[in-house]
Symmetry: C2
Subunit: 168 residues, 2 copies
DNA sequence: TTTAAATAATTAATGCATAAACAATTAACA
DNA sequence: TGTTAATTGTTTATGCATTAATTATTTAAA
């Protein structure tokens, strides 16, 4: 939490309401991350690993192909290999080779993984509630509205950026 | 940007306004990061390296001790070693050994580093302006206010968490 | 049917973060 | 003075992300 005072310092060269909004956004996000990290710490699980677990938790009993997981998480397959390695080491997930197509590997959540995921999901909701009690309902919905507008604008900016400059 | 639709999916298990606020926050942050990343890309510089450069840019001509940089960025010294390594390879920074205390090493920004930093700072302000044009001034200040309240609350939560439970 | 191309996962190299162990140097003090 | 402490920075091992190269297998084509 101390880090935030320093962050403000290192962005002292930023002036104007636009840049300040962005910096405040970064600070707030960093604080939220830190608080959640503290909560998550005792479970020895990262955001990514938790995400992957939830995906498998919501999948069928056969689990999911590694590349399917990568597609859903929008993350490279190399990354999935590593995440699954670590989750497997924790006994939360197992690999099962597909017999009809031996290139494929299904990742399946274990019993231990299921109860673990349920526990963390429960906690996550609890923590979110605690944290967001800081704001009243009006502030929360106002915040959501402004962020939605920002998101839409960003998507549009990106879309425009991607349009190649036609010159002829 | 596509990633965001997926993010919403993987957090489908999250319900209630509190959790939703947090997810929207994460999404918005991720979008901002992505847009800035696209901008930064052509400069071959990460957030961390840029931060470090700005710190040296604002320091005296003698530069700063590596440990001082670590203190300011609230980052481990091992990390600083690596960042300086990479910045040095790019010719933006150089190491100078202190003669009176041979344990110390000063990091000094080079001429190339200075003009580079000025260029990127200028761009950063420009980009921030472009992006935050999405919101009007009223929305920007409202957003800042709500985030400030959230930040204060988070700091307080952390402070309370740190107080050991006295039992006697 | 043999060869070429596509697909699935892993490995290797790199960036950025951490903690822990280490070497070198300086400071403290008995 | 000589031994112990503290400090400064690097190295090593690990986690999590990327891209590019590699292996194994299946599919398509010639």
């Amino acid at each position: 939490m101390e880090r935030l005072k320093r962050m403000a310092e290192s962005y002292a060269w930023v002036e104007g309401i636009a840049s300040r909004t962005i910096i405040e956004f970064k600070k707030t996000h960093e604080m939220l991350e830190e608080v959640f990290e503290n909560y998550f710490q005792e479970y020895d699980i990262s955001d990514s690993k938790f995400n992957l677990l939830v995906i498998l938790y919501n999948s069928s009993e056969k689990g999911l192909m590694l590349s399917e997981i990568g597609d859903r998480m929008l993350v490279t397959k190399a990354n999935i290999t590593g995440l699954i390695d670590r989750l497997e080491k924790q006994g939360l997930v197992k690999r099962i080779r597909d017999d009809t197509d031996r290139r494929k590997i299904q990742a399946v959540i274990t019993k231990k993984g299921i109860s673990f995921t349920e526990e963390v999901m429960r906690k996550y909701k609890e923590w979110s509630g605690d944290i967001m009690n800081i704001l009243n309902d009006d502030e929360k919905s106002r915040l959501i509205n402004i962020m939605s507008k920002l998101q839409k604008g960003l998507v549009q900016m990106e879309a425009e950026r991607r349009i190649p400059h036609v010159t002829a």
